[in-house]
Subunit: 252 residues, 2 copies
């Protein structure tokens, strides 16, 4: 197995570029970190390019690394690659998936300008759990392959198509197909429970501070809100998404 001692090694420098959005976009690859995420990555076809293990870290027997280059690195290199303070010392360099066709999809979650990586990852995880067919990341939304997004998503990004797109172009296409498009806002809408869940729909959630932009809201069929019964001013956007996604799935 190849061994890399120094974090100044040119290979390590290439890996470190994957910690930036620009580096990921240029190479169309990204890094996942930790046993759970690497294991999920290995289960996907044609995804992992290189497996990186800090010296002393054992690869679980059940992992299938056939045809994947394995590289052992020093603790120093592990720290240079880690997004967390307490790294597990295991990483995989992965191929970004081509945007999968989402033409067959019936249920969509659209993200407008979300900024908090933890929120985005939690929303992806929740949407995948609720059975959503596809996710669209609108302009201004943090990059899917940001390490903090991937960590919160807990591998769920492997299990459904997530594309980048201009929501103002995508919404009219959805509407033309007869898919109802629901925006979310604190006011000027209908309480979500007054809408009957349907087999096909698109739901939009927006920026943590400013919500879904006015331009995008104006394109929707209906704006929905969740009643606040207490004195809080709003719900966290990932919580709101969870409530709405499961309402649309299960009705009440």
């Amino acid at each position: 197995m190849k061994y890399i001692q120094s974090s100044k090694n040119p290979v390590v420098k290439q890996w470190k570029k994957l910690l930036t959005k620009k580096g990921r976009e240029q190479s169309l690859t990204y890094i996942v970190e930790g046993f759970h995420l690497v294991e999920e990555a290995l289960k996907q076809d044609d995804t992992v390019i290189e497996l990186i293990l800090v010296e002393g870290v054992e690869m679980p027997n059940k992992w299938n690394s056939d045809g994947i280059e394995m590289i052992q690195v020093s603790e120093e290199v592990g720290k240079a690659l880690a997004d967390t303070e307490t790294t597990q010392g295991v990483f995989a360099v992965c191929r970004q998936k081509d945007s999968e066709a989402i033409n067959e999809s019936k249920t969509f979650l659209l993200l407008d300008g979300l900024q908090d990586p933890g929120n985005i990852g939690t929303i992806i995880r929740t949407a995948e759990a609720s059975g959503i067919d596809a996710i669209v990341l609108g302009k201004g939304t943090v990059d899917l392959y940001n390490p903090k997004v991937l960590r919160s998503a807990q591998g769920s990004h492997f299990h459904l198509p997530i594309i980048k797109g201009d929501l103002s172009e995508i919404i009219p296409v959805l509407k033309e197909k007869g898919i109802p498009v629901y925006g979310t806002a604190l006011e000027n809408g209908k309480e979500y429970t007054t809408v009957k869940p349907q087999d096909s729909y698109a739901l939009i959630v927006g920026n943590e501070g400013s919500g879904v932009s006015g331009e995008i809201l104006s394109l929707t069929d209906q704006i929905l809100y969740i009643t606040i019964y207490g004195k809080s001013e709003s719900l966290n956007v990932a919580i709101a998404a969870g409530i709405l996604l499961y309402y649309f799935k299960n009705g009440q």
Copy 2:
């Protein structure tokens, strides 16, 4: 206005003790940070003891600080008190509330061994928004007055009674009153939508990794689960709490 320059000043040393659980428990006070939380604190009767402003930070005109000691401090002191890297330079030392009577409460959220301060704060905010009457923090759950809990709760902790308690003692009391007690787990329960929402209930959510403990689950009337339609193994506990709390609130 009193001014404190050095972070070695004995007053600052007392404040810094409030950043630890032990210090908060000994003094029955705690610190909130940032304009939003301090403003919420000032709206509460008999809560704020001291208002601390970093030099150069202006107090908004609308704040009513009658009868509250105001202290200006250096940036150095501000940094010593701050829990965030980008502090807004405004703090309030607050009295911990006496446990309010929760005898009149009809709806309860019980937390069993939650460890992530952000999750706990988000759950408090969500529960308050959903109209829950009272929250019980079971043993092993992170301290309410932890700065990260307070930040995620966004001031909602001022608006409903939150008590500490031994869930294994509280659950039998609730059941004796005829209040149905629902645990949550990934299995061995009923899908939540099969339960008819009621005016009065107690819901228990548990530790991020291990869930609600077996001992506590065995005391409940019914265990509920949320169906995972995708390949995710579980939902984030705050998301699960949000889905269940709004289902119980709105269910039909």
